[in-house]
C-alpha cells in the first residue's frame, strides 16, 4: 500500500515536471530573433542577370495588405558580385527580407554563361533554403521574365508553371536537390528548364544544358521530352511525330501522349569504346491523328508502334550526339559507367565520351484511349 504522503509527493513531482516544461517553452521561445510573419518580407522568386560586369538581382515579394489579393512587389539592385545581393536588397525594403520561402531562382542567359556555381554553392549551404526550390534559365534576362508575371498577382507564377509542366508536360522532374545532385555528382551534368518571353508572357521553351556550371546550349521542348524519357521513369509528356519525311501538311502529324515510361540501362561492352544500351519501355495513347490512319487490325497498330518507336529512337540518338558534341552529359552516362567499372575517373571518361556508343531500344505500346475508332 502506498502511503498518502508518497502519492502527494508523486503528484507534486508531476506538477513540477509539467511546470518546468511550460517554463522552458516560454524561455526558449523568448531567445533569438523573432520572425513574425507580418513583420518580415518573404522573398518568393529571385533572378540573377549579368549587366556588363555587374550582377543585377531581382526579387519578387508578395504584398498581402489588400484582402484576398496579392500584389507583387519587385525589387532590383546591382552589385559587383552576386554575393551581397540580399544585403543590397535589404537596403531598399522597409521590412527585413527572408529567404525561407524562396521557391524559384532564375538565371539570365548571360549570367548562366558566366557560371552559376557560386550561387548554387550558396543555395546548398544556406540552411534556410528549401530543397524544393526550383532553378531555371531565362533565354533573355531574368528581370524581364520576372516582371512580366506582375499582373498575374502570383509571386510563384513561374515556379507553378514549371511544376505543372513537370507533372503533366514534357519537363523532367527537377528541384534544387536533384539539380545539385547533377551538379556535384561526378559523371553527370546539370540541366535546367529554359524559359523565354513570347508576346509578353513567359513560356517554357525547353531545357538548358550546362557544362560544369556554365550554360552550354539549349534544346527545344520535344527534346525535353526525350531527356525526360532518358533520365527517369516518367509519366505524361507528349510529342508530335511527322508521318512524312518531307513537305508534310498540317494534318500529316500524329500526337501521342506518354502514359508511363520505364528506363533501364545496361553495359554491353567496355572495350575498346564503351557501348551502352538504354531500354525504354513505354505506354502511349494516340491523341490526334489524321483521318487516313486507321486502327482496324492488329497489324495497323503494331506498324504504327514500330514507326513511333523508330522516330523516338532517332530523336534520342540525335539528342545524345548533340550532347557528345557539346561535351555535356545530362543523362548521367558517366555516372553509369562509374557504377560499372572499377577505378573509374572523370578525366578518362571525358576523353572517351565522344567515342562512347549509346544504343537506344524503345519498346512502345499503344493503349487505345478513345471510345470511338
Amino acid at each position: 500500500m502506498r502511503s498518502k504522503a508518497a502519492v502527494r509527493a508523486r503528484c507534486l513531482s508531476y506538477t513540477g515536471c509539467v511546470g518546468i516544461l511550460v517554463l522552458s517553452c516560454f524561455l526558449i521561445s523568448s531567445c533569438g530573433n523573432r520572425r513574425i510573419v507580418d513583420h518580415i518580407k518573404l522573398i518568393q522568386s529571385a533572378g540573377y542577370d549579368l549587366d556588363g560586369k555587374r550582377v543585377r538581382s531581382t526579387i519578387l515579394i508578395g504584398d498581402y495588405t489588400e484582402k484576398e489579393k496579392t500584389n507583387i512587389k519587385i525589387l532590383s539592385t546591382e552589385s559587383v558580385s552576386s554575393m551581397d545581393t540580399m544585403q543590397r536588397q535589404n537596403t531598399k525594403s522597409n521590412q527585413s527580407l527572408h529567404t525561407g520561402q524562396m521557391r524559384l531562382v532564375l538565371f539570365g542567359k548571360q549570367f548562366a554563361k558566366q557560371g552559376i556555381g557560386s550561387v548554387l554553392d550558396r543555395l546548398f549551404h544556406d540552411q534556410f533554403i528549401s530543397s524544393r526550390l526550383r532553378l531555371a534559365v531565362s533565354g533573355t534576362n531574368a528581370a524581364g521574365l520576372l516582371s512580366s508575371t506582375v499582373n498575374t498577382h502570383d509571386t510563384l507564377f513561374i515556379m507553378n508553371m514549371v511544376e505543372q509542366n513537370e507533372e503533366w508536360g514534357n519537363l523532367p522532374k527537377l528541384n534544387l536537390q536533384t539539380s545539385l545532385y547533377n551538379y556535384y555528382g561526378a559523371g553527370r551534368d546539370l540541366f535546367l528548364p529554359y524559359l523565354i518571353l513570347e508576346g509578353g508572357t513567359v513560356k517554357i521553351d525547353g531545357i538548358a544544358l550546362f557544362k560544369d556550371d556554365k550554360f552550354a546550349t539549349n534544346v527545344d521542348i520535344r527534346d525535353a521530352f526525350v531527356l525526360k524519357l532518358l533520365t527517369e521513369n516518367s509519366r505524361n509528356g507528349s510529342i508530335l511525330m511527322p508521318l512524312k519525311e518531307s513537305d508534310a501538311l498540317p494534318d500529316d502529324y500524329i500526337l501521342m501522349r506518354s502514359i508511363a515510361s520505364k528506363r533501364t540501362i545496361q553495359l554491353v561492352s567496355q572495350e575498346p569504346a564503351p557501348v551502352i544500351l538504354i531500354k525504354i519501355k513505354m505506354k502511349v495513347s494516340v491523341r490526334e491523328k489524321p483521318e487516313y490512319i486507321r486502327f482496324e487490325t492488329k497489324e495497323d497498330i503494331s506498324a504504327l508502334e514500330r514507326k513511333l518507336a523508330a522516330y523516338l529512337v532517332k530523336k534520342a540518338e540525335d539528342f545524345i550526339s548533340l550532347c557528345k558534341s557539346k561535351q555535356v552529359d545530362p543523362i548521367g552516362l558517366g555516372d553509369f559507367m562509374r557504377s560499372k567499372s572499377r577505378g573509374w575517373n572523370e578525366k578518362d571518361f571525358q576523353a572517351s565520351y565522344p567515342s562512347l556508343k549509346a544504343k537506344i531500344r524503345i519498346d512502345l505500346k499503344i493503349v487505345q484511349s478513345s471510345l470511338s475508332q
Binding site: 533569438g32 530573433n33 528549401s130 545539385l180 545532385y181 556535384y184 557504377s339 572499377r342
Partner: protein, 366 residues
Amino acid sequence: MSNAISEKFTVSPIHLFFIMYVSIVDISILSFQREVAMDAGQDAWVSILLVWLSSHILVWMMFKILSNQNPVNADFVSINYAYFGKFLGACMNQAIILYFVLTAFVMYRIYLEAILVLIFPTMSLWPISLVFIVLIYYAVSGGFQTVAGLCFWAFFIIVILFPPLLVLLIPFLHPQNLLPFFDHSPMQILKSSHQMALNFYGAEVLLGIYPYIQTQAKSQKWAHIAIGSAALMFLVAMVVALLYFGQDQLHHLVWPTLKAIGMLELPLFQRLEYLVLSVWLLKTLASVGVGLWISCHSLKKLWRTKPSNNLVVILLLFIILQLFIKDPEQIITAKMLHTNIGVYFAYIYIPIVFIITMVRKKFSKG
C-alpha cells in the same frame, strides 16, 4: 555483502534494450555519414557491418565479465578495485567516470550547437542551456527508474520519427550510387571502420547499469537486440545518405540526415528538419541522463558521497565547461577527445578486463 538491490531501484530486462539503444543512437546519427564515407565511399556500409559485428563481440565479453561478479557489485567500480588493486583501481574508476561525464557533456553541447547552427543562429545559448540543465537535474535526481523511463520515450520518438521519413525519401534515391561493390582497398575500409567506431559508442553503459537490471541472465538478449537495431539504424541512415546525395555531394555536408529530411513536405509541415531537431531534445535528455546517472552512482560508490550532491557538482562542471568550449572548433576537439577515449575504452579496456576475468575464473576453478 548486502543482498540484491531493492526492487524500487531496478528495472526489468527489456529496459536494458531502451537504455542501450538510446545511448548508442545519439546525435551523430544525423551527421556521421560524411566522415565514414570519406575513405570508403560507396562501400561505407561494409565498415558499418564490421563495427556492428565487433560491438556484438564486445557486448558478449561484457556479459562474460559481469556474470562472473557478485550480482550486486557487477559494475566497473567494483571490478576495477578487484582486478587492479586499491590505488590503480581508484585511478581507473575516476578516469571512467570522467569519460561518462564527458560523454554526457559532448552530447549536450553538440545538441545545443545543432540548434544554434540550424534553427536559431542569433540565439544566446545561456537561457536554453540553463533550462536544459534544470531538466537534466530533474531527470537524473529522479533515480534510475526515471532515467530508464525517459529512455523508453526517447526510443519511441526515434521509432515514430525516422522510419516513416526514410520511407518517404525512397522516390528520391539513386540505387546506382552503391555500385560498384568493394571498389576500395581493405586499408580504406579499415580507416572508415575506425571513423564508424568513433560514432558507434555507448554500449559501455552496460558496465555501469548492470546491477540495476532484474533477472540479469535474461537481459543479454536485450543488449544484443539493442546493438543490432541501433546498427541497423546507422546502416539505413548511411545507405539513404549515399543513395540520396551521392559521394560528391556528401563530402560537402555536415548534417546529411537533416538535409535529406528537409526535402520532405507534409501537410502543415514545410520544414521537417526543425521538427526532428526539436523533438530530439527529449532524446538528448535521455542519453545525457544515462551518462550522468552512472557517473553519480559510481562516484557514490567511490567516495561515499550523496548522489544528488555529485549531480550538482557535475552540472556546475557542465556550466564551467560551457564557458570554455564555445566555438565549433573547440566542440569538435572535445568530441574527438571523447570519441577517441571511447574507442580505447571499448576496444582495449574491455578485452583486457575480459582476459583477466577468464584467467581468474580458470585459476579459481583449478
